[in-house]
């Protein structure tokens, strides 16, 4: 059951990755990275149970804390230095 969940999370990660590749706006990329971060937290949590050593929940916890900081930093940056065109960054 954990294996199925792991694979489903991997599929979600793959799709978010595709969104991060194609963009088109900077905000889409930030959104994809944010989603990727949340799914990383879940993946690490579920993987701990899959390998029957769930005591390493600390890594998931540190992502839950720090992913927020990364997103806020990116947003501050985008507000201070707006991209040349907000519609697309390519």
């Amino acid at each position: 059951m954990f294996a199925v969940t792991c694979l489903a999370i991997l599929i979600v990660m793959g799709i978010a990755l595709a969104r991060a590749f194609i963009g088109p706006t900077v905000y889409d990329r930030i959104l994809a990275v944010n989603m990727f971060g949340t799914k990383t937290v879940l993946f690490i949590a579920v993987y701990g149970f899959l390998t029957e050593r769930p005591e390493f929940m600390d890594i998931a916890l540190v992502y839950a804390l720090i992913n927020f900081v990364g997103v806020i930093a990116v947003l501050k940056f985008v507000e201070r230095f707006p991209p040349p065109s907000a519609q697309s960054d390519e």
Binding site: T51, R53, E55, F56
Partner: protein, 122 residues
């Protein structure tokens, strides 16, 4: 089995991508990103080597007798922190270059250097 070496091939691919970015890119920040990819490919190589089939994370617990190799983990753990410190040093150098040359394109920097050399000779 062909998948036995998959990790190592991915490592080589990452290493070569970083290498390519390093030598083919004209932008100094992109060069640093290439260097970072190169660096993390080495991390991946070490960690792949440390994995043992059937082993778990090297933290002793009841009822477990196969552990992965802790030595590569130690080396890479410190290497990551040292890596971010040296990357920040490189980025600081890029900022100084931008301030004195007003560009971060390698060819423009070389061009400016050539002009100033000719001026001093003349």
């Amino acid at each position: 089995m062909i998948l036995d070496l998959y990790n190592y091939w991915v490592v080589i691919f990452l290493m070569m991508s970083g290498f390519y970015t390093l030598i083919a890119s004209n932008h100094l920040i992109k060069k640093i990103v290439g260097l970072n990819i190169f660096q993390s490919s080495v991390f991946m190589l070490y960690i792949s080597m440390g994995k043992v089939a059937g082993g778990t994370a090297p933290i002793a617990a009841e009822g477990i007798d196969t552990y992965s190799n802790p030595l590569p983990h130690v080396l890479i753990l410190t290497a990551i922190v040292v890596g971010i410190a040296t990357t920040s040093l490189a980025l600081a150098l890029v900022i100084r270059i931008k301030e004195s040359y007003d560009t971060v394109q390698e060819n423009e920097i070389l061009e400016l250097d050539r002009i100033s050399d000719e001026e001093t000779q003349a």
